[in-house]
């Protein structure tokens, strides 16, 4: 049994028809799984595509899988999702002019805090 099992594991091609979302290689599958965690379910109050089995989530997941198989990059896929369901569908608040304060806020905070820390030490 162990022998048969190990042989079948060795022989099984990555892409076998039992997969709901089919990919050509494991890297794509991992990319898919990571992506759907970062995209919001369009219909749910909160939660990612990964956590939702609403019909529109399933459709969107299939579309994303298609796009990965077409060789589209993460950026292109996210652009499509943002265009179709709104920027709020991305859990990643893209680094843009209007999110500058968000991304740099923590950095500025630490910088100012340490500045004050060292200034007070001097006195």
């Amino acid at each position: 049994m162990k022998y048969i099992l190990s042989i079948s594991v060795l022989l099984s091609c990555f892409a076998f028809s039992a997969m709901i979302y089919e990919f050509d290689n494991e890297a794509d599958e991992i990319r898919f799984n990571d992506l759907i965690k970062e995209i919001r379910c369009p219909k749910c109050t909160s939660g990612s595509l990964s956590s939702s089995n609403a019909p529109v989530s399933e459709d969107l997941k299939k579309r994303i899988a298609e796009m990965i198989n077409q060789g589209k990059s993460n950026a292109e896929i996210k652009e499509y999702v943002a265009k179709t369901f709104g920027k709020e569908s991305l859990y990643d608040p893209q680094f843009q002019q209007d999110t500058f304060l968000l991304w740099f806020g923590p950095v500025i905070f630490i910088f100012v805090a340490f500045l004050l820390f060292f200034l007070r030490r001097k006195t």
Binding site: M19, E38, K87, E88, P93, P106
Partner: protein
């Protein structure tokens, strides 16, 4: 009507607490007043607690003339869930919150001697806060409302997702943590009002703070564990706004505990400690506000109207602004002893405060940014894991490095840190080796994972070495610090390994067929309909066999609950220390096959084990002999 007795008792309690608050600030130092206040507070609490006990009794005996009980409980529920239904929605959970707040005050009242200078004022502050929340409860969120004259014969059903032991315990544990921080808050405010810098409020508040911290840690861990096995998609932390508002007080509380040590040991950082004490409770209050105001979209938040939100905001805002005003006013009188020496333990903790402060700031930024953005640009935006991970990982890693080097530092003096000391070198080498090995074997390409692993291993090996040295050479080592920081290292590598190693796939499979995923053979044995008292279920059976010929049965389900027609998925998990095999079933396809989601989650149990271990360190501190 019995409910009216309960209602009346709560009103009387409110009146008594108001009296306590007034008396507390009339004449200080008078032992007679102190005893009066103490006694009145106890009476107030007893009335309030009796009111709550009656309420629980009404829930357990299916008294559906009470509107809240009718809306959230049902005769078919087991008694345990009839009780837990009390805190399943806004009014009841607010009631529980208040009971816990009053209970903490009662314990403090009982255990602290009346001669303690700050006691009366602390009790007074707690009482005023209680009066505020009780007014909010009675005036806007009344759990005592009745449906009369025709009480329904049965109640509505509780959301089936809430009929779960972990979820029944999670809110009380969390609330105990949240409201526990009223004690150090009250002590700090009492200290500020009293105005005498020599009073060591920090010592008074310490053990209470640690206990509250333990509850908060366990509460958050329980929530994470529950979400993992109940919600069906295998995540343990989602950076959901409601989770974040529990994380913020925890971060502030952890910083507070560290700062408290410094204030107690060296009378330093007293200003930071007071500020943190105010911040922790303020963040707890803020969390309560956010969840109940309806301002944030989350499956977790209580459905509410903005009017209640405004009332709550007003009350909480008053507490926070008043405290900060007092703080700013009394700023000059808070005297610390001397300056902090460079590279001393105090200086490291001082820097630690900055790191924790920045984490709290970042989470607050992430939670409020979508609200501000929508207000300014009339457009929605989401802030989720990518943001929080990008901020947390670098800061936590750097903080760990500081922690690593702080181990050799001493209290109240500067020493040259032994950058090439034995323990430092050995642990660095071991950490490098472990990281390199992991990176090579698993083929890790992510820099953040590699760096996190290194930081975690550094702490783990260093503390293992320190603990060994301490046992062998009988050298002193602070055990709580060792265990807690070791757990931190464990937590970091568990999260990192879980993130990089875990995999999942959705497959379709027919009955009597096998599929292979990674090193597992999955055989779909059967699927059948199961009837239960309050739900019907489709229960599938899978036999999983791994490479070592271990086999086990997993039975995920899909349930349909009768009263609301709600469909839930029940996960089936095979737990081992190394990994979880996690299975859920999806829909059936046209060809008769079923969609099955399989996940292999590595080291996930270790995440919760580390958190519990951290709480255990706190417990060790509580039960240790009193240190001066």
């Amino acid at each position: 009507m019995i409910i009216e007795i309960s209602h009346f008792l709560t009103i009387v309690a409110t009146g008594l607490f108001f009296l306590v608050g007034c008396f507390a600030f009339i004449r200080s130092g008078d032992i007679f007043i102190s005893k009066l206040i103490s006694r009145t507070y106890s009476h107030g609490f007893l009335f309030l607690f009796s009111s709550f006990l009656i309420y629980v009794w009404l829930a357990v005996t299916d008294n559906f003339s009470v509107a809240y009980i009718a809306n959230h409980s049902n005769t078919a529920l087991p008694t345990f869930y009839k009780i837990s239904s009390i805190w399943s929605a806004h009014e009841g959970s607010m009631f529980l919150w208040i009971i816990f707040l009053a209970a903490w005050g009662y314990l403090f009242n009982t255990k602290v001697d009346n001669k303690e200078v700050l006691k009366s004022k602390s009790i007074g502050i707690i009482s005023f806060i209680l009066v505020g929340f009780l007014s909010f409860l009675l005036l806007t969120s009344n759990p005592f409302e009745t449906i009369l004259p025709f009480a329904p014969s049965n109640g509505a059903d509780i959301n089936p997702v809430l009929q779960d032991p972990a979820l029944a315990i999670h809110p009380p544990t969390l609330y105990l943590g949240y409201v526990g921080f009223v004690i150090p808050f009250a002590c700090a405010i009492a200290f500020l009002i009293q105005g005498n810098s020599d009073i060591k409020w920090e010592e008074l508040a310490r053990k209470w703070s640690v206990v509250a911290w333990i509850f908060l840690t366990i509460g958050i861990t329980l929530g994470s564990w529950w979400a993992y096995y109940e919600l069906g998609w295998g995540g343990y932390w989602f950076w959901d706004p409601v989770e974040n508002v529990a994380l913020m007080p925890w971060l502030a509380a952890t910083a507070f505990l560290h700062s408290l040590s410094v204030s107690i040991k060296s009378s330093n950082l007293r200003i930071w400690t007071i500020l943190l004490s105010i911040s922790v409770f303020s963040l707890s209050l803020f969390g309560t506000f956010i969840v109940r105001s309806g301002i944030i979209d989350s499956v977790h938040s209580f459905a509410n109207d903005p009017e209640r939100g405004l009332y709550l905001l007003g009350f909480i805002g008053t507490i926070i602004i008043f405290s900060m005003f007092l703080f700013v006013l009394r700023f000059p009188i808070i005297k610390s002893v001397g300056n902090i020496k460079s590279f001393s333990k105090e200086s490291f903790i001082s820097i630690n405060n900055i790191f924790f402060g920045s984490l709290v700031f970042s989470v607050m930024l992430g939670v409020t940014y979508p609200l501000i953005y929508e207000y300014l640009y009339d457009q929605k935006i989401s802030v989720g894991a990518p943001f929080y991970n990008a901020i947390f990982i670098p800061i936590v890693v750097i903080a760990c490095l500081f922690l690593f080097f702080s181990i050799d530092s001493k209290w109240q003096r500067t020493i040259k840190l032994p950058f090439f000391g034995g323990a430092t070198i050995l642990s660095s080498l071991l950490a490098t080796a472990a990281t390199f090995l992991s990176t090579y074997l698993i083929v890790i390409k992510s820099v953040s994972i590699i760096v996190s692993l290194f930081a975690g291993f550094l702490l783990i090996f260093r503390y293992l070495i320190e603990i060994s040295i301490s046992l062998l050479k009988k050298k002193y080592l602070n055990p709580f610090s060792a265990v807690a920081h070791f757990s931190l290292g464990l937590l970091i590598i568990s999260i990192a390994f879980n993130s990089i190693l875990s995999t999942e796939r959705a497959i379709n499979i027919k009955i009597n067929e096998s599929e292979i995923y990674k090193d597992l053979n999955i055989y779909f044995q059967d699927i059948r309909v199961v009837n239960n008292s309050n739900h019907d279920a489709i229960k599938a059976s899978f036999i999983i066999e791994d490479m070592n010929s271990n086999s086990y049965v997993l039975s995920p389900e899909k349930r349909k609950y009768f009263t609301r027609g709600q469909i839930t998925t029940e996960t089936a998990i095979h737990v081992t220390l190394l990994r979880d095999i996690y299975l859920t079933i999806g829909d059936q396809l046209d060809d008769g096959s079923w969609i099955v989601n399989i996940q292999i989650n590595y080291l996930i149990r270790w995440i919760w084990i580390s958190a519990i271990l951290m709480s255990f360190a706190g417990l060790m501190l509580i039960f240790s002999k009193k240190r001066s």
